[in-house]
């Protein structure tokens, strides 16, 4: 039987339009955009065109778009770079992050706190996606504060109230960064709200190339670079630019935004059909954050009485590709910080994330439910034995 890929939140296959758009810049039009000659000029024109396309897709100005080498880098640059810019001017900054941030923000924040670079405040999030705003207000009133709240959580699909927080942060004079990596193409994402000063995105989650991301930096927001050694990307991200990557990303971003409304409806219907059948056929399953507003492409299941690693491995062997909480935390039995934050540290359910995408079909859903029912049964049988 053909294996079924239901791990689009981990990464996606490149679209043919993206590949075609990139192709010339991988061969004939290979110049370095910083070179003065015609090869350089051609490359530079392509890069700036890509920047304009990306800016338009996000409702930004081209000069506010900085290409990076991926989502993790954008998150690091936003959080550390903004905090460092503040500490040069105003002393020790406070960084307030939601408890369900991606590791690229969460681990970075903890590392910087340990090094004494910043004060860290972690904001509790409930299963409805509500954020505890009181400690945020205290921090914002207390001194210079950077806030990092993701738009859509990567493990559960949960929406966080970014526009609401943007209003609060703006009123109280803080800087808001949002990691929109999992949101683009799934929900309307825009930088129009003036409270959003930094936004991270990446190409490979939306059928673009691996290794290209961007950071939106609203004009007038100071960010210190993490790398030194060249003037590229406004010296915020030095290093010879990946023109093909930028072109591919811009193409993918434009298409994702154009198709978002229609694709979200289709994905949402698939996901709902999947969840209805799972709940009807398998006992002891919780849809994580099921009652909340969440991404139409992600279904995170909490499964009673089953070992998570075993479940994921068995699904894989039967040809259904999924992840635990995220694709990044394999080989450990411990619940992820996201699941712990939402359901408490003692939550003993195994987490399996199914994520749907462009090539997902009704047939994939049927197959996934059937395999899951079989595998859950097998794994649960052993729980008494081991």
């Amino acid at each position: 039987m053909q294996p079924v890929y239901l791990d689009y939140a981990a990464t996606t296959p490149m679209r043919s339009e993206v590949r075609q758009a990139m192709d010339p810049y991988l061969s004939d039009t290979f110049g370095n955009p910083s070179s003065r000659h015609r090869w350089g000029r051609k490359a530079s024109a392509a890069l700036e065109h890509a920047r304009a396309v990306a800016a338009e897709a996000l409702g930004a100005q081209p000069r506010e778009i900085f290409f990076t080498r991926g989502g993790t880098e954008s998150d690091n640059l936003a959080v550390l770079g903004r905090c460092r810019a503040i500490s040069l001017e105003d002393g020790l900054p406070t960084l307030a992050i939601s408890a369900v941030e991606h590791h690229a923000v969460y681990d970075t924040a903890r590392w910087a706190e340990e090094r004494g670079e910043l004060r860290l405040v972690v904001l509790a999030v409930d299963t409805e996606g509500s954020i505890d705003l009181d400690p945020l207000r205290v921090a914002l009133n207390d001194g210079p504060t950077v806030v990092s709240v993701m738009w859509v959580n990567n493990e559960t699909g949960l929406f966080l109230p970014v526009p609401e927080i943007a209003t609060l942060v703006e009123e109280l004079g803080g800087t808001l960064h949002t990691d929109a990596v999992q949101a683009i193409g799934k929900v309307p994402v825009s930088t129009k709200h003036s409270g959003i000063r930094l936004l991270s995105a990446t190409a490979h989650k939306i059928y673009g190339p691996r290794g290209t991301g961007l950071l939106f930096v609203r004009e007038g927001t100071d960010v210190a670079p993490l790398l030194y050694g060249g003037g590229q990307e406004g010296a915020l991200r030095p290093g010879t630019e990946d023109v093909a990557g930028a072109v591919g990303f811009a193409t993918a971003l434009r298409l994702a935004v154009e198709e978002q409304a229609e694709e979200s409806v289709r994905l949402g219907a698939l996901r709902d059909a999947f969840e209805d059948r799972v709940l009807a056929q398998i006992e002891g399953v919780r849809i994580n954050a099921g009652a909340a507003r969440r991404s139409p492409s992600i279904s995170s299941l909490g499964i009673d009485g089953a070992d998570g690693e075993l479940l994921l491995s068995a699904l894989d062997l039967e040809g259904v590709a999924t992840s635990g909480g995220s694709a990044c935390a394999s080989g450990s039995n411990a619940a992820s910080h996201v699941i712990s934050a939402l359901f408490g540290p003692d939550d003993a359910k195994a987490t399996v994330r199914f994520s749907f995408g462009r090539h997902s079909s009704e047939a994939d859903v049927s197959r996934a439910v059937a395999v899951l029912a079989d595998v859950v049964g097998r794994v649960r049988e052993l729980e008494g034995v081991s």
């Binding site: 690693e309 075993l310 894989d316 039995n333």
Partner: protein
């Protein structure tokens, strides 16, 4: 085609075991067990199951085109292997943690998980053989006498045997390495793992001090005595001693002295000369059988430590435990070590842990 789960440590033996199974046409699933927390060990630890072991196993699996999963068995490993190791030393015995791990943690757990993964059989890179016959399955020594690992596997449940495959048991170590080189496996020239994996420094006393109360008798000073009760010195904790050990006993004796016995209740370490170390009556407890149990009067071959030859012996008593009389006295028979019994065709009958040893002259 059957689905086989192969335990991959990241070493050359299990790498080749996996490769041979692939060649034989099985659907092979590689698994590495994460047995303990690696954060305290050096990044390039030599032990087989360290984090780089997991990465090497994954690289080999990728090269062979088979899936590879990591299973966290730290909780079971800590309870069944490390806690037992500490408790044995605390009681003045010399444990074989690798027996517990190989016989129980590894295979029992793999079989359970294997069932969930739809695997009919479990394989590993141990140098042992298994013979499947209509009347039952038998475990035999590996063909390479220098590498035979049957000593570590006597304690597994007999019911597992029909499920097991040991592809490298028919090969010599040099043939295994040659095969790995032919396949360009990255583990082909990896050094052997020697020390106990959770004591990478080789100094188990540190581990005991971490896991036992600092006032535990095993870590307190006590008298060094001769068999006749004469006190001849003081030691810094009997947990640092094992029967047959010479190191750590201060000099000043007219002849080399060795540990003969550890008496935890009085914290005495009994010492004597080399001649006193030879014993030929051995009591064994915690028995487990992989074949029909022997009866009184049966002749067996008993292996009393990992790198020792088996010695002919007669079973003189058997109930919950058994007594063996050895054909020849053996040096430094250590309580806590495994005694593994074989028949004349190198088949593992079963074994137990050495409880005590004595000499016929004194019986």
């Amino acid at each position: 085609m059957s689905r086989v789960l192969v335990a991959m440590s990241g070493g050359v033996d299990s790498s080749v075991a996996a490769a041979l199974l692939v060649d034989a046409g099985h659907e092979v699933v590689g698994v590495t067990m994460k047995t303990f927390c690696y954060s305290g060990t050096p990044a390039h630890s030599k032990t087989c199951c360290g984090l780089d072991g997991i990465m090497d196993a994954k690289r080999v699996a990728d090269a062979l085109g088979i899936p590879h999963y990591v299973f966290d068995v730290e909780e079971d490993f800590t309870r069944d292997v490390i806690d037992d190791f500490v408790s044995e030393y605390a009681q003045g015995r010399t444990p074989n943690p690798c027996v517990n791990c190989n016989s129980n943690t590894k295979f029992k757990d793999l079989l359970t998980r294997g069932r969930a993964l739809g695997c009919d059989q479990i394989a590993s890179g141990h140098y042992v053989r298994v013979e499947h016959a209509p009347e039952g399955s038998s475990l035999l020594r590996g063909l390479d006498p220098d590498k035979d690992q049957s000593y570590f596997l006597w304690a597994m449940p007999r019911s597992l045997l029909p499920k097991l495959l040991f592809p490298v048991g028919e090969l010599t170590k040099s043939a295994v390495r040659a095969h790995a080189r032919d396949l360009a496996l990255i583990t082909a020239d990896k050094p052997e793992s020697q020390e106990i994996c959770f004591v990478p420094s080789g100094n188990y006393r540190d581990l005991l001090e971490k896991r036992l109360s600092p006032v535990h008798p095993a870590l307190q000073p006590g008298p060094i005595v001769r068999r006749n009760g004469e006190v001849v010195g003081e030691h810094s904790g009997y947990a640092s001693f094992t029967v047959g050990q010479r190191k750590g006993l201060r000099g000043g004796f007219p002849e080399p002295m060795f540990v003969l016995q550890i008496r935890p209740h009085t914290r005495e370490v009994v010492v004597g000369n080399r001649d006193e170390l030879f014993e030929d009556v051995v009591d064994i407890g915690g028995l487990n059988w992989l074949a029909e149990p022997p009866t009184v009067g049966d002749r067996v071959n008993a292996q009393l430590r990992y790198r020792a030859a088996a010695v002919p012996a007669v079973v003189t008593r058997i109930d919950e435990s058994l007594t063996l009389e050895l054909a020849e006295p053996q040096l430094a028979v250590s309580p806590g070590q495994s005694a593994v019994l074989f028949d004349d065709r190198e088949r593992v009958l079963g074994g137990g842990r050495i409880v005590s040893a004595s000499t016929r002259a004194l019986v």
